[in-house]
Amino acid sequence: MSLLDEVRLVAGKDLRIEARSRVTLQQIVPFGLIVLVLFAFALDPDRGVLKRVAPGLFWITVLLAALLAVSRSYTIEADNGARDGLRLSGLDGPALFLGKAAAIAVQLLALEVVLAICVVVLYGIELNSLFPLVLATLAATVGVSATGTLYGVLAAGLRVRETLVPVLLLPVVAPVLLGATRAWEAAIDGVPSDAWPWVGLLGVFAVLFTAIGMLAFGSLLEEA
């Protein structure tokens, strides 16, 4: 089996579990939506603040939902000795890492589409230059999924996993929040040239942490 086949196998497993359990669809997506509505309660929509800070609110919501997605991704490995199954599967660390990260990324992308539509509708913003916006979103999602998968396996099997992952993950993805928010602002303002440096930064982040994750995953899984 090639690396790609193995990645598809692992990602397919996680996505099949999601298709049957619908935890992302029925819990994480509604969570994201309620956070967006709560932001509107906190920052009165009439004052025009919401419109200006919409990209930031969108990405904070995505990060919070990503924490849940990472947690879910390792909850499904905790039962029935699934983690031992992964260890004994004979699949390489990099393939396992890419597979799990890809499954998280796919779910986050679906969530982002839903949230973006809601941001446009509820906060009344217009997305002027779509191309940099889409690229920034893709790169940011890959970056968040990669770091999330890495910290997820680092904390897998620890009793404090649920509380540990946020405190480790959020500072590391701070640049993603910054970059993605600025890129979205530029796209909303219709000045794509302002977005490109941020897209580049998000790309570097995604590549760097994907590489680290591929290197470290196998050895961390053994300790989990």
């Binding site: 680092l154 480790l168 500072p171 300790e223």
Partner: protein
């Protein structure tokens, strides 16, 4: 189980204490007040060395973590060193933020500014706070060492990205930063000497504290090992009064 020989450690401790006292005298009385900032500038003799030690400590943590991960140099020495240094790094980063803030109020007029360096330092603080949380989770020594070494390197890899992104952010939105980075570019004489002397004094303090913290970590591990050995010995040793042999169990289901 020691980083420095006891005598060397003692000498470093005495030297750091002496140089800190000297620094107080130099910084408070000998160095002239700054032309613009007057006495508030004296905080720089504390702030710059403390910040330097914070960065140094994180650098040592990253290096020690890499050495632990490298199979040829793998040794618990590096794990203890990484943990001890990270702890000092977090403390000194917190001090940097606090005394920088104290200085910022009279000079900038605000406690905090969203300046590139400040934000990077704050993120650095949280990155390694998470690392310390990870270190405190009980698990087997080897598993913990591996997890922590990887986490330290991931955090370290993130620092340049954080710095670059924050830099890009502030330069995009804040033309010609008020808080330019020439704070220590044109200083001469006693003031420069005091600053460098402060760096030396705090580096000595760092080495001394690192040695103490390392020793503590080593003793902690030793105690745990001993407790385990003791518990095993208690289980294995024959109990003093021989336990009366229980009556043979009545077999169920067999006719008598």
């Amino acid at each position: 189980m020691r980083l420095l020989k006891p005598r060397v450690a003692m000498a470093v401790g005495v030297l750091s204490l002496a140089s800190l006292v000297t620094l107080v005298i130099l910084g408070l009385f000998v160095a002239p007040p700054d032309a613009v900032q007057s006495d508030a500038q004296r905080l720089m003799y504390l702030h710059v060395p403390v910040a330097w030690v914070a960065y140094l400590a994180f650098g040592v943590t990253a290096l020690a973590s890499a050495l632990w991960l490298w199979p040829r140099t793998r040794s618990m020495v590096w794990d203890r060193l990484a943990g001890s240094s990270a702890e000092l790094g977090v403390i000194f980063t917190a001090l940097t933020l606090v005394d920088g803030s104290l200085w910022g109020k009279p000079v900038w007029g605000v406690w905090w500014a969203w300046d590139a360096r400040l934000v990077t330092t704050a993120v650095l603080f949280f990155l390694y706070l998470g690392y310390l949380a990870l270190r405190r989770i009980p698990s087997s020594v080897d598993a913990r060492a591996k997890r922590c070494a990887i986490a330290a390197l991931v955090a370290f890899a993130d620092v340049p990205i954080v710095h670059f992104s924050v830099d890009l952010w502030r330069t995009l939105h804040q033309d010609g930063s008020v808080f330019n980075e020439e704070l220590d570019a044109h200083i001469h004489g006693v003031m420069a000497f005091t600053l460098w002397f402060g760096v030396l004094a705090f580096t000595l303090l760092y080495v001394y504290l690192l040695d103490r913290r390392y020793r503590l970590a080593a003793l902690d591990e030793e105690r745990e090992e001993r407790e385990v050995a003791l518990a095993i010995a208690e289980r294995v040793a024959p109990q003093a009064p021989p336990v009366p042999t229980p009556a043979p169990p009545v077999e169920m289901g067999t006719p008598r």
